[in-house]
Assembly symmetry: C2
Homo-oligomer: 248 residues x 2
């Protein structure tokens, strides 16, 4: 174990920040770190929008159902982006829409945005800053897109709040190593997988009990069952298709 | 700039490795780093398959069109995975298929897998190892899935080769900072974006000229136009739908 792996494994989401903006130098170091991530076939299929405007942050916070989106040192919006490839089609005089519209291209753009974002997260954490991914941005991408002037072939995939941590949170135990990591093929023994989930439930119950003085003791599987009981963001398929992605 | 950011920004793909397998301790450090990444609503929607079996690696290399998949210190397959949530549905006796099948859930699983992968990449690099993402794994996911016994609601999204670098490669210049990073809203001035792409083309031409003693001088936009001229992996929409993802 080295100190870099310690930093990686010490990650926890930070939700409350000092009222202290990041410097342009910090933002540049974080974004250039994002840009250093691998990118599928060198496609660089993402854009990062940094939001400083307070009124916009407030609106995005309302749409995300998340006050942290308003109060932080900086707010980044990571977008899956093949819009620049539309411009390239004009520059190079080729028709590339049939390729941009595939589910494969949609996956490439999402993966590129996520790889870049994780580099940004770690760069920020290495500077002593805290971060939180905000999937709530996807609650209402129609409105988000209006506020951010999002063009065709761009989908905002999540936000990231960054700032000076006001407090530390504890690290949530992850699924057991053996449950996530399979050797040579997918572990097909469902009873073993369920047994691992039951063991993990006990760890998660203990974690909540300790954090809440016994007030909360839900299991992971019950959380997941509750989360997926009702489909959410069911407009997504229509939205991404309208943007020009995932069509065929 | 600190040494973490230097490591992040020093990334380059490594394609040739010593014939020297990673230790189980190294693999564990890398996978546990992957597991420490943020995960959407704590869903942990990914699985990592580590392939040691030589015959399987050879077959995966053929399918990916990529010899590096066979010759490396270790091979990881990152999968978007909501299969364990199918098991949870059984354990908790709830119907969660309608939620698992949404495009939103598909995006969540891809993002989770990618965030975990980038942590794995950096953990490996911090150990002096090199890595390369292999999108070529998606050339033929039907066959890949047979070899790896992939169940429903799992999609292998890419592979990662890891190992002791045989040689260093040079770092490819990325798109200009100003082209990737927009402030407060998406940069809607297409002529400015195109101008930035033209400037970047000169940088990329120079990069290839220097690397190939003048033999190669293609631009980035011509590369991208060539790449997207013909749609690839057009089976993807059917495949992911068959796996139970991205249905509505």
């Amino acid at each position: 174990m080295n100190e870099f792996i310690e930093l990686i494994q010490n990650h926890r989401s930070i939700r409350h920040f000092e009222d202290r903006p990041l410097t342009d130098e910090q933002i540049r170091a974080i974004v250039e770190s994002a840009q250093s991530a691998a990118t599928s076939s060198f496609v660089q299929a993402y854009t990062i929008i940094g939001v400083k405007d307070k009124a916009k942050k407030k609106k995005l916070a309302q749409l995300s159902g998340n006050e942290y989106v308003e109060n932080n040192g900086h707010l980044l919006i990571f977008c899956a982006d093949l819009h620049r490839h539309e411009l390239i089609a004009e520059m190079e005089n080729v028709d590339i829409y049939p390729a941009l519209e595939t589910t494969e291209s949609f996956m490439v753009a999402i993966i590129d945005a996520a790889l870049a974002a994780q580099n940004a997260a770690l760069a920020a954490e290495s500077l002593g800053l805290g971060i939180c991914y905000i999937g709530g941005l996807r609650n209402n991408l129609e409105e988000v897109s209006k506020i951010l002037h999002i063009p065709s072939l761009v989908v905002p995939v999540f936000a990231m709040t960054i700032g000076y941590p006001l407090n530390q949170s504890s690290k949530k135990p992850r699924l057991p190593f053996e449950h996530i990591y399979h050797e040579d093929e997918y572990q097909s023994d469902s009873s073993l997988l369920k047994k691992q989930l039951e063991d993990y439930n006990k760890i998660i119950q203990q974690y909540y009990k300790e954090r809440t003085n016994g007030k909360r003791d839900d299991t992971w599987t019950s959380q997941m069952a509750a989360k997926f009981k009702v489909p959410t963001r069911t407009y997504m398929k229509d939205f991404v298709t309208k943007q020009g992605f995932n069509k065929k």
